[in-house]
Amino acid sequence: MWDYTKKVYDHFLNPRNVGDMENPDAYAEVGNMACGDALTLMLKIDKKTNIITDAKFKTFGCASAIASSSVLTELLIGKTIEQARKITNQDIAERLGGLPKEKMHCSVMGQEALEKALAQYFGEEIPEDHTELEGVIVCKCFGVTDSQIAKVVRENNLHTVGDVTNYCKAGGGCGQCHPEIEDIIRQVHGGVRVEPEKPVGQKKVMTNIEKILLIQKTIEQEIRPQMEADGGGIDLIDVVGNKVLVALRGTCVGCRTAQFTLKHAVESKLRELVDEDIFVEEVK
């Protein structure tokens, strides 16, 4: 069981400012169902004074996600936009008397929602999905960019990939991006990179035909049924060496978690069951 503070429990059991808001001046949605938590933040802003006069939230997630959202709205009401911009995920966590380190990403989600809502208020470019966020995507499973990772590393003084995962989920999926995350940590702190341990494995030797058939079988039996359950679909287009080309169908087309699906549901299954060097690309 998580060691939550009394304040976390208080905000979870009696969340402040939960609900909808009509005609909000600023609005942001962050997170998604697949990731396990999501937050919608709505703000009323007095245009003359630049003071946030009201804040509402709706959250899908665990107790600390709900508590972080609740505390965020409390922090925001009565502040000017300039003051609000200075709020960090640390402020959210501190106001809750601290969060278990595995739950720090809940505070980061709150801070991201705030940032996105203010950007929307000022009419700044709102990215349609993760792929257009500032920076380059490092963690493909959760759609986290290098600049987001660098930010949590800097602001929270993180030193390990595990910490980064706890704070922003990056690296918590297939694990492929761990070396890149280590590079970012090193760049931020200027330290020495520690080489990750490589698992020792023996590969089965397959002919190309065997490999293609196994990929086809894995997609048909392992991957497609799951995607169909979520209203989507997938077809194998071609296999070139270790590159597997697929087309997404149904609701997967244009879905904001399509990249997540591709990397997690498709690529990791193929790596597990066919060949660990496989990478998947979408044919549009």
């Binding site: 939960v18 396990g36 999501a38 665990c62 709900i66 720090m104 706890n166 494995g201």
Partner: protein, 392 residues
């Protein structure tokens, strides 16, 4: 407020009679059963009695029972022994929904170069027996398929599975940790070579497990040490817990009927009422082929940990397939293998009953859970989207 304990697939309350039978071994009967004096000789006989009691519950003979430290050790032992006694065979067949004691051992073995087939399951959690038959080859050292799933309670057709595997001349192991004590398990009827069970799932203490090894099965010890357990498992016997497990097995046989009538009735009442009272909820796992004490229900658009903590406010204990830890991406490997969509997998709750569960306790959960689900849905951005979709 007293605890309403509906997490019996995680662990169970020690039966008072079991506790009674254990206490002397924690006080005056402290000898080492290997000793060459009367004080120890009695303990050796007590161990033998417990071995017979365990054997009786699964219709096996006493010498086919070895005591281990837990279900995980039994599972690990079975796999490693099979690979060591058939060194020329480097393939294992198992399922995607096994307990981590099998699953992670198989992943470990896969990294060491063994080939592992993880059989998929359908939407109800069932495996395809033809696919099983196709996957077993002359290079397969062992097939390990659970008797019943811990998360969903789905019961596998072990007799058929065992026959398929044995017809190919391959070793068959089953993790029956969740089944023994809840279902009649008969080693005379089912051609299983090895079977794992665990004490604390059937009202005995934690820290005691059993590996059943059919007579004539090739075996290599996993814990290497002294001559205990006929040289099949080193380490001084956990006498108190072994005696407790013996008592627990004897009592479990007496309650077998109760488990499959009264416990099942309460489970069905809980399940049917919750599914009808709460919209956008669904059962995970096969409706019929299921343990009598287990129900796993998804409440869509909300998250499991939040449900559990609100239940905990009323001291109701259950568990969730949600993995709201950032390091984990799969809400539950079992539910995802079944193709349960993310919308539902994150909000899954498992209730597992026992012979101690009362009607009043079930009524209390039926009364308290619907408002909890509603409260969280009012906070959920996805519930709002869903509601407007339905009305438009």
């Amino acid at each position: 407020m007293s605890v309403i304990y509906l997490d019996n697939n995680a662990t169970t309350e020690i039966d008072p009679q079991v506790l009674e039978s254990i206490l002397p071994y924690l006080k005056s009967e402290y000898g080492n059963p290997s000793g060459m004096y009367t004080f120890a000789g009695k303990l050796k006989r007590d161990l033998d009695k417990a071995r017979s009691q365990v054997a009786a519950l699964i219709n096996a003979s006493a010498e086919e029972i070895i005591f281990t430290s837990c279900g995980t050790e039994s599972d690990n032992t079975a796999l490693v022994s099979a690979l060591e006694t058939y060194p020329e065979k480097r393939h294992i067949v198992t399922t995607r929904v096994e307990h981590s004691a099998i699953l992670n051992m198989c992943k470990h073995l896969s990294r060491k170069g063994y080939a592992i087939t993880f059989l998929p399951v359908d939407r109800e959690g069932m495996i395809d027996l033809d696919e099983l038959a196709d996957s077993v080859t002359p290079s397969t050292a062992v097939v390990s398929i659970m008797y019943a799933n811990n998360e969903t309670g789905v019961v596998y057709p072990i007799e058929q599975i065992a026959q398929i595997v044995k017809s190919k001349g391959v070793l068959f192991h089953t993790d029956a940790v969740q089944a023994v004590g809840k279902l009649p398990v008969d080693m005379n009827k089912i051609p299983v070579d090895m079977l794992s069970l665990s004490g604390h799932k059937l009202h005995a203490p934690k820290g005691i497990g059993v590996l059943y090894i059919r007579k004539g099965t090739r075996f290599q010890p996993y814990i290497i040490g002294g001559h205990q357990e006929d040289g099949r498992r080193g380490g001084t016997e956990n006498v108190a817990s072994i005696v407790g497990l013996g008592t627990a097995c004897e009592i479990a046989a007496k309650y077998m009927n109760h488990e499959n009538t009264e416990v099942r009735r309460l489970r069905d009442k809980l399940e049917n009422t919750l599914l009808s009272k709460i919209s956008s909820s669904m059962l995970n796992g096969h409706k019929l082929s299921r343990l009598p004490n287990t129900t796993n229900i998804s409440f869509e658009f909300i998250e499991g940990e939040a449900i559990l903590l609100l239940l905990d406010e009323h001291r109701i204990c259950a568990s969730s397939g949600s993995a709201c830890t950032s390091g984990s991406i799969e809400p539950s490997h079992v539910l995802r293998a079944m193709g349960v969509p993310f919308t539902a997998a994150h909000g899954s709750i498992r209730f597992s009953l026992s012979r101690y569960t009362t009607e009043q306790e079930i009524d209390k959960v039926i009364e308290l859970l619907p408002p909890i689900v509603n409260r969280l849905r009012q906070m959920s951005p996805f519930w709002h989207e869903q509601a407007s979709q339905l009305s438009s």
